[in-house]
Symmetry: D4
Subunit: 208 residues, 8 copies
Amino acid sequence: IRQGFPEVVYCEGKTVEQIITIIEQLNQRTDSNILATRMIPQVAEKVLAKIPQAEYHELARMMVIQKGKQKRVGNVLVMSAGTSDLPVAEEAALTAEAMGSRVERLYDVGVAGIHRLLLNHKQLFAARVIVVVAGMEGALASVVGGLVDKPVIAVPTSVGYGASFKGLAALLTMLNSCASGVAVVNIDNGFGAGYTAALINRIGEKEE
Amino acid sequence: IRQGFPEVVYCEGKTVEQIITIIEQLNQRTDSNILATRMIPQVAEKVLAKIPQAEYHELARMMVIQKGKQKRVGNVLVMSAGTSDLPVAEEAALTAEAMGSRVERLYDVGVAGIHRLLLNHKQLFAARVIVVVAGMEGALASVVGGLVDKPVIAVPTSVGYGASFKGLAALLTMLNSCASGVAVVNIDNGFGAGYTAALINRIGEKEE
Amino acid sequence: IRQGFPEVVYCEGKTVEQIITIIEQLNQRTDSNILATRMIPQVAEKVLAKIPQAEYHELARMMVIQKGKQKRVGNVLVMSAGTSDLPVAEEAALTAEAMGSRVERLYDVGVAGIHRLLLNHKQLFAARVIVVVAGMEGALASVVGGLVDKPVIAVPTSVGYGASFKGLAALLTMLNSCASGVAVVNIDNGFGAGYTAALINRIGEKEE
Amino acid sequence: IRQGFPEVVYCEGKTVEQIITIIEQLNQRTDSNILATRMIPQVAEKVLAKIPQAEYHELARMMVIQKGKQKRVGNVLVMSAGTSDLPVAEEAALTAEAMGSRVERLYDVGVAGIHRLLLNHKQLFAARVIVVVAGMEGALASVVGGLVDKPVIAVPTSVGYGASFKGLAALLTMLNSCASGVAVVNIDNGFGAGYTAALINRIGEKEE
Amino acid sequence: IRQGFPEVVYCEGKTVEQIITIIEQLNQRTDSNILATRMIPQVAEKVLAKIPQAEYHELARMMVIQKGKQKRVGNVLVMSAGTSDLPVAEEAALTAEAMGSRVERLYDVGVAGIHRLLLNHKQLFAARVIVVVAGMEGALASVVGGLVDKPVIAVPTSVGYGASFKGLAALLTMLNSCASGVAVVNIDNGFGAGYTAALINRIGEKEE
Amino acid sequence: IRQGFPEVVYCEGKTVEQIITIIEQLNQRTDSNILATRMIPQVAEKVLAKIPQAEYHELARMMVIQKGKQKRVGNVLVMSAGTSDLPVAEEAALTAEAMGSRVERLYDVGVAGIHRLLLNHKQLFAARVIVVVAGMEGALASVVGGLVDKPVIAVPTSVGYGASFKGLAALLTMLNSCASGVAVVNIDNGFGAGYTAALINRIGEKEE
Amino acid sequence: IRQGFPEVVYCEGKTVEQIITIIEQLNQRTDSNILATRMIPQVAEKVLAKIPQAEYHELARMMVIQKGKQKRVGNVLVMSAGTSDLPVAEEAALTAEAMGSRVERLYDVGVAGIHRLLLNHKQLFAARVIVVVAGMEGALASVVGGLVDKPVIAVPTSVGYGASFKGLAALLTMLNSCASGVAVVNIDNGFGAGYTAALINRIGEKEE
Amino acid sequence: IRQGFPEVVYCEGKTVEQIITIIEQLNQRTDSNILATRMIPQVAEKVLAKIPQAEYHELARMMVIQKGKQKRVGNVLVMSAGTSDLPVAEEAALTAEAMGSRVERLYDVGVAGIHRLLLNHKQLFAARVIVVVAGMEGALASVVGGLVDKPVIAVPTSVGYGASFKGLAALLTMLNSCASGVAVVNIDNGFGAGYTAALINRIGEKEE
Ligand SMILES: Nc1ncnc2c1ncn2[C@@H]1O[C@H](COP(=O)(O)O)[C@@H](O)[C@H]1O
Ligand SMILES: Nc1ncnc2c1ncn2[C@@H]1O[C@H](COP(=O)(O)O)[C@@H](O)[C@H]1O
Ligand SMILES: Nc1ncnc2c1ncn2[C@@H]1O[C@H](COP(=O)(O)O)[C@@H](O)[C@H]1O
Ligand SMILES: Nc1ncnc2c1ncn2[C@@H]1O[C@H](COP(=O)(O)O)[C@@H](O)[C@H]1O
Ligand SMILES: [Mg+2]
Ligand SMILES: [Mg+2]
Ligand SMILES: [Mg+2]
Ligand SMILES: [Mg+2]
Ligand SMILES: [Mg+2]
Ligand SMILES: [Mg+2]
Ligand SMILES: [Mg+2]
Ligand SMILES: [Mg+2]
């Protein structure tokens, strides 16, 4: 009933056999794109041997099976604070793309070097919706939320140590953002952020 | 620089004098709507004595000063699980309205009586974006997120006792939602949810 | 002194030798069924070499030594939200069976796809007591509790990541259930849920 | 659709007017018993002025409106560890009674004086299901669970100070009970425990 | 033994009589300045009646008894994110002043409006040490820490609600700052921040 | 200066070389007994090769180097709830012995089988001080504390899973004990409990 | 059965009538001393009107009814870090005295002024057992534990603010003490510390 | 723009290739010193093969590339409580040195043996700023802060077990220090402490 939406497989906690079986069955049964998240390289190899048209994105630990040509529309901006946040940021970006969104990336613009962020304000103002991925103290979401009048989907990451408590610090930061228009997803949930951003981005298309 | 957006005053932690002064100054300086959140009745009375055209919404502890006529567009649905969640739900609804969104309300549809929720599925499918307000275990967000292909903004409330830990239980529930497309704001932050929903709702208009 | 009850061995934190010795001794000393929970396959192999009539259930990490034929009575329904919850759900089901309960299984009926759950309402209404196993946000317990007038034993699982905090989110959800008649056991404690459900199920028999 | 079940009103967070209106309407509309929990004396007085046949139980902060004569059946035992746990214990007992269960009470049998508990073992063995109410360290649930082969519904209370963290200590104790057959409800949730115990107790009747 | 340092009285948890006695005795015994923190107006009035040369700062809930003329040297900058953080910021500023530091104030420069902060960069670069006071998500400390090469003393405040958990969110943010050179004091501990900043500021003087 | 006291080495976080060096030096320098806690077998082997008179206790992960003959006096009782608590219980017992205390052991007397505990009441009443070691819900400390008029040193262990939170549940239970005369040491700190019990036990000797 | 031990009434959560009744009955029934803890002045007044020989200690919120003359023996030292810790320290001291211990007091010797503590080392070395009462960071217990070879009973207090989390910080400090021989009771539990210390102190007498 | 400051690479979460590339590029591009923190020996070996003038400090898991001769000025004292805290203490000391500070070290002076600390008071009084590194209960920071009138930068470490909660206990201790002039950095953040101390130390130079 959800036309145009990808089928999604969450690989964590499933055996290699289960994953392969599920993906093969989906691949035959549906014309939708297929996303498989949290897939480790060893599993990806085995799936690729069976479904060569699949694309595996190692950094994002994600597999995408694109069905036919897809026109990507609108404008989702995915930002990250640091290099270690990239896997989560890419999970968000690839998810939004698989759902038909045009995605821009703006990485490594953490608040410790605020000038780099400000230099890129054009990208911020051009976006319809922004995904902000940040670990440690997660302050980037507040700064971006204060700069733009777009919905911001904030993703805390588990990057950090000690009192970061595996992402809890960044999560609390983002939930308490003093800027309006910021909503938050689970720690490391790049998929959920990309999915929500794509749903929001589609609103700008549907009305045409 | 943010045309069409309301001016917002957060009253908690400000003295009566401070609040009155800020609102009077804003009222003279701007043509935007003015929102004042977390305003107690005693303060509202004093402000109304000076600015009679202001409207005070006691349940939502919120004051709205509407400047000129406003066309409300789009479709934001605000849902609540229980009666005690109404103050937060109304804060969300009034905020979205003050930002120019047409808002529908669907209250008291908690998951303990799932049939009442399902009977109202038309309202769910008609909305562009949905705000779900729930306390205690906050399960409503997951059920709604599973039913629709719209962005869902989930607001945990501090309603509950014991192991609800003042909203923490509902917050964690919503962050871990097994349904895709759910993003979360702070506990009791009806304002933030309404604001974000209105930003999302506007996307459907801007493109016209 | 507890006739008809199985002897139970909790294997975690015991050495292979300790486990084998305990089970062999129990096996000779008693006519009761023997349950061994949290048993890894390597240990199971060694026990099976000595006690061939034992049955090892790998998914549930559980061994059952059935003494004589057993009539299973009553009606315990074990439900699970997702595939990753199966080990815990099976631990519950096998425990209840070893205690003489007839057990039905209804798996993969999480609230993100509420229709699948509602399609199976007959099974829910037929049960005397229901065990609900769910991780992530654990909302299934509330929905089931709202649908039926039976005692519901809810088992949070550690399935999830980030703000699931290893099952804490699901635990809090279940403790705060807005539906009446829901009681909760420890995270991942399928054994405890199956045991309690079997105790409850027996009440319907004893009176005859 | 739930015949024989009471209608329940949770008074916390509702205004006096709301409570009176809801109870009066229920009283006219239904033949079921009506329970109102967490009702303070000031409110009770006003309701009693309008509905004189209502009974208010101050210790349990609970009102019961009994419709017609009710036969109480089965055997629910409600136990408490200390005097300060009585409000919660009584909430449990009155709830179970309003649902048609015969209820025995065994109060002030905390584990610091284990002999008093053991002297009363007959009451324990006679019960079909036992509700154990305890604050501070909540150890009573484990001791009772070890003595009997009945389902035990454990209710942690917020009685205590310092590291009791408003009932969290007792809650964790009960969830980790080393005795089998213990399931837990929310802190101070006497109502939920009494309700669940009554559902379990009914199973012994239904089959006759 | 600590010449030039003020005597400090922490009033919370002391009776009015105790406070007055302590301050009067100190006032006679010492030539140092006297600071009394967390003093409520009712107490201040009584002290002022006895020691008229004392100065009471209501916003900071602080009393200062200045002995002789004091030359204030160096450059401590105290910044705050929001209006509700002012009591803590003033506690820091007045403490540093009482210890002989020249203090500049830069208030209401939260990251939701980053431009206001950047417009004031001159004040930031002129300071020897900076105190940053912020509640809610406390992101200001990271942004300031990224802009300057001075030690930053960050003070989380308990301003906020819900998942701010009374200052915990801001505290974690500041401890995880991705900018180097940021050290943190207890929630709402303006006194400790001002004291530490003054100790640091003195280092620039002592060497002359 | 602390005659008669053992020298203690805590091995966790030290390299094999460091441990050997420290123990060899102590062994030459002192006539006191030497205790080494948290020592893994691989390290023990190497130390034993150099100091053959050392005794390694694998279960307790502890090495004892006894100097000369030692008269053990008084009466310390070490109790444990379950089999998995034995390493910690033995750490306590061996520590107290190395400090000159006569130690009795009473293991596997958890509250789920209260009769076994009561059958051994003589041992309880004979002791001067009792160490109670328990994991999961840790209720044994309260029951023992209620039975005797001796100081009880309670040691929570990390045995358990889920909501035991690595010993936190047992720790809170013991801190909130409704029995008087119970004091608590850190999770898994058998050493600290044995040490404190021996200090207490000595008091009964010194006066003679 | 516990000769020579006081009867204890914990007043928190009991009504004035309940407290008076319990104390009057105990007073007639027993020859033991009677302790009532956590008693507020209003209640004390009413009890004193009925039982004039009772002594009320306002600072400790405690009432003592001494039966006959009592010889106090041994040597319990009660120490406190700050002035705000006095109510808890006095609760400990009075409890130990009512149990027949001779008690010395050494107050206001917090670690921020370590010299004052060291100047009093004679009192430390003379004691048989030491109670250390401290709030905020609770470091005093470690320093004392390092100085002496006596059992130390540490009592964290809820004195502090912000990240003291109502005594949690001091509690954790004391549990993790790097000095041996330190055992801990609940936050603010002066009664429990005094009781345990008196039990320990008695060991030095019993043997004579 | 930050002349004289080292370039810093945080190695955790980066691949070997990424680290080598970044360091090689920095090495060519800049005349500043280069610091690489959290570098494991395997990576260090590979970098040393390419950049032989680099120095690797295994204990601190840190690499320093010193450019030209450096005059070290001022006086930073780095103290540690125990041997297991050395990696963090050395990270602090090496960082401060790479930033041009003269550093003294005073290790193994934990509060359980306060005399050793007091014997070294001269080093404490000679320092401009002190870094205190301590795990377990972290009490050293308070004692040092009470002895000196210098800024103290406190670093909690994750050394400990059980209720140390991976450094949380020490962190809370330090935040609640009853001594003035103590500011805190993240758990195990030796780098941040050394960096901040060096910034403070520089203030004493700049003025000359
Ligand atoms: N109820 C609320 N919860 C969270 N943030 C709010 C709320 N009401 C207003 N705000 C935010 O607070 C800002 C105004 O704060 P202030 O300048 O302190 O009055 C607004 O721009 C909003 O971003
Ligand atoms: N998976 C489980 N989770 C919790 N408790 C269990 C589990 N399996 C067994 N038990 C309990 O552990 C007891 C056996 O423990 P043990 O004597 O250590 O083997 C049984 O009587 C049960 O009460
Ligand atoms: N301040 C206190 N903190 C903890 N436990 C206490 C305290 N005062 C009394 N108790 C305990 O409470 C018991 C009396 O409780 P109750 O029967 O409710 O008055 C005594 O036997 C003590 O064990
Ligand atoms: N051990 C450490 N702990 C915290 N922050 C660090 C550490 N080492 C380096 N940093 C910070 O991390 C930045 C470099 O991060 P990156 O660009 O990811 O290598 C530096 O500028 C420092 O501010
Ligand atoms: Mg914005
Ligand atoms: Mg959806
Ligand atoms: Mg139900
Ligand atoms: Mg049982
Ligand atoms: Mg900086
Ligand atoms: Mg006792
Ligand atoms: Mg000692
Ligand atoms: Mg100092």
